[in-house]
């Protein structure tokens, strides 16, 4: 599987869209963190908060990137080469998952560099918060992988990926309203559910959401890890038994 991973990484680092994404990540983060974009809400934030605010762009980027990069396995038929070479569909899935995780981690590094250039202080708190954001992005990617590699039609993959982003956004807006009417234990449970969505975790860490929407960094991390494991298990369930045309 190492060879599969290397092959995917080779393709990734030559992909124009990904390279552009990394360049924009560093440039946009630096500009946004430094306060070059003016808005009454954003102007009131500190550099660190502005840096976290722009991190949502990574979620939007991977929503578009994953279908375009991954689905050609079916549309171009290149998954056949991998199966003929002796790899299983599960190995192809896992290698792509790891490849996208690496892509997210590399983009996150560019984002962090951009944030520091823009003026964010690289202290422990900001590092931990951004690691939580990274794991939120990874959990989002692992969900998108189910769509990208379990469905073969590119048009359905594209629609469902953007629908996922749409629904994440809606759930955050809706969740904010619901949480305000909840109380005590039900609010705590609601907060955990709210943080299942990676946009929910992002919103809770920007400071825009109410304090009760943030169940704590350790809970957010656990939710992300659990989601990664769960979606990977679903994504690889009986995948080897699928017939390929």
């Amino acid at each position: 599987m190492i060879n599969l991973y290397k092959a995917n990484m080779s393709r990734l680092f030559h992909n124009i869209l990904y390279i552009a994404g990394c360049v924009i990540a560093i440039a946009a983060t630096a500009a946004f963190t430094a306060g070059m974009v003016h808005n009454p809400y954003i102007d009131r934030m500190g550099e660190e908060s502005r840096m976290i605010f722009i991190s949502a762009a990574m979620i939007a980027f991977f929503t578009i990137f994953i279908p375009i990069f991954t689905n050609p396995e079916y549309t171009d038929g290149s998954i056949r080469n991998k199966i003929v070479s002796g790899y299983s569909q599960k190995q192809v899935y896992m290698s792509y998952l790891l490849c996208h995780f690496t892509a997210a981690a590399v983009m996150w590094l560019f984002y962090m560099i951009g944030g520091i250039i823009g003026g964010a202080r690289p202290d422990g708190r900001i590092l931990v918060t951004n690691i939580i954001i990274l794991f939120a992005v990874l959990s989002y990617i692992s969900f998108l992988m189910i769509i990208a590699l379990r469905l073969k039609k590119m048009v359905i993959v594209a629609i469902l990926s953007i629908l996922t982003l749409n629904m994440s956004y809606s759930s955050v807006m809706f969740g904010n309203a619901i949480l305000t009417i909840m109380e005590d234990e039900s609010r705590k449970i609601g907060a955990v559910i709210y943080n299942i969505s990676s946009l929910g975790q992002w919103f809770a860490n920007t400071g825009f959401a109410d304090d009760f929407a943030n169940p704590g960094l350790h809970i957010q991390l656990m939710v992300s890890v659990a989601l990664i494991l769960f979606t990977t298990a679903i994504g690889t369930l009986a995948i080897n038994k699928r017939d390929l045309a």
Binding site: G77, S85, A245
Partner: protein
């Protein structure tokens, strides 16, 4: 005899449709196996089973002595290459990048063979041109080059000359023969162009409705298609005496029919047969082209 592939009552169902129906087939090692059948006969389905793209409904097969349900079949697959239907290439990469991708997949330590492969299939001057801008023939050549990565022992080609110009067809044929002779690579070639197959195949398998109708070597096929005189007599045992005496090459088809692969003089044959008490009922020239043989074996209708 060593076999690269052997199947045992292989079946594949798609719902109520049987694509493969108790298929039993053997591909001798070192052969160029021509796989012939009508559209929808099951050729591509079988190829998909061998490549691991699909699993059989029932039955089994052995690929380079590994059983299809064994975990070690992966080792067999690492030693094979295939072009199944349309070439599997990344359209946004160049020919060279596609081959490098395949080298990476196979864990090859370097890309030194890439340029040689491009030269071999006639794509050395494509440069950075993306595969999306290739002609059909160029994509076919690239698919073959990808199949050749990793020095396989067994290569499956599904309609390899599809989309190639006459020059390209000759080049691919010569390449296949060369690789087979020099490196001992076994080929399974599925094709509709019988004339083309007859120039390179050493063995043939005829498939119809998911089953192998006939397997034969090229010599056997040659004989079947050879010019002959078909004689109908009252007793072929008596005829054999005459033919043996003359040392003629012949084949007894039944108690009253024989094919004689010689130029016969009718009057001479009549006299000789009369002497041994054999009556000739009819004699007719029998000249079967490969196409005619195919049609007689598999039927001429149903090109669906």
């Amino acid at each position: 005899m060593d076999y690269v592939f052997k199947s045992y009552d292989l079946c594949k169902q798609y719902g109520s449709f049987s694509a493969l129906n108790n298929l039993n087939m053997e591909i001798p090692k070192g052969s160029i196996y021509g796989f012939v059948g009508k559209n929808g006969a099951g050729k591509t389905t079988l190829i998909r089973q061998i490549c691991g793209l699909q699993s059989p409904t029932s039955g089994s097969f052995e690929l380079m002595e590994y059983k299809n349900d064994s975990k070690d079949i992966v080792r067999a697959r690492r030693r094979m290459g295939a072009v199944v239907e349309t070439p599997a290439i990344f359209k946004d990469l160049s020919a060279r990048s596609n081959l490098i991708q395949q080298c990476l997949l196979l864990g090859l330590p370097d890309y030194s063979k890439v340029d040689g492969l491009l030269e071999l299939v006639g794509l050395a001057d494509t440069g950075k041109k993306k595969a999306r801008n290739f002609s059909l023939g160029m994509r076919q050549r690239l698919g073959i080059a990808i199949a050749l990565c990793g020095d396989p022992d067994f290569i499956i080609l599904d309609e390899p000359t599809n989309g190639l110009d006459p020059q390209g067809i000759i080049e691919i044929r010569e390449l296949i023969i060369k690789l087979n002779k020099e490196r001992g690579i076994t080929f399974l070639i599925s094709s509709h162009i019988l004339d083309e197959l007859s120039r390179m195949a050493t063995h043939y398998g005829f498939i119809d409705q998911g089953s192998i109708v006939r397997q034969m070597s090229s010599e056997e096929l040659q004989r079947e298609c050879c010019k002959s005189v078909r004689m109908r007599v009252n007793d072929t045992k008596l005829l054999s005496k005459v033919l043996d005496e003359k040392r003629y090459d012949y084949k007894i088809l039944g108690p009253d029919t024989a094919d004689v692969y010689e130029e016969l003089v009718f009057s001479d044959m009549v006299k000789r047969c009369e002497k041994v008490g054999c009556s000739i009922i009819s004699m007719e020239e029998h000249d079967e082209s490969l196409e005619a043989f195919y049609l007689s074996l598999l039927g001429g209708s149903g090109n669906d």
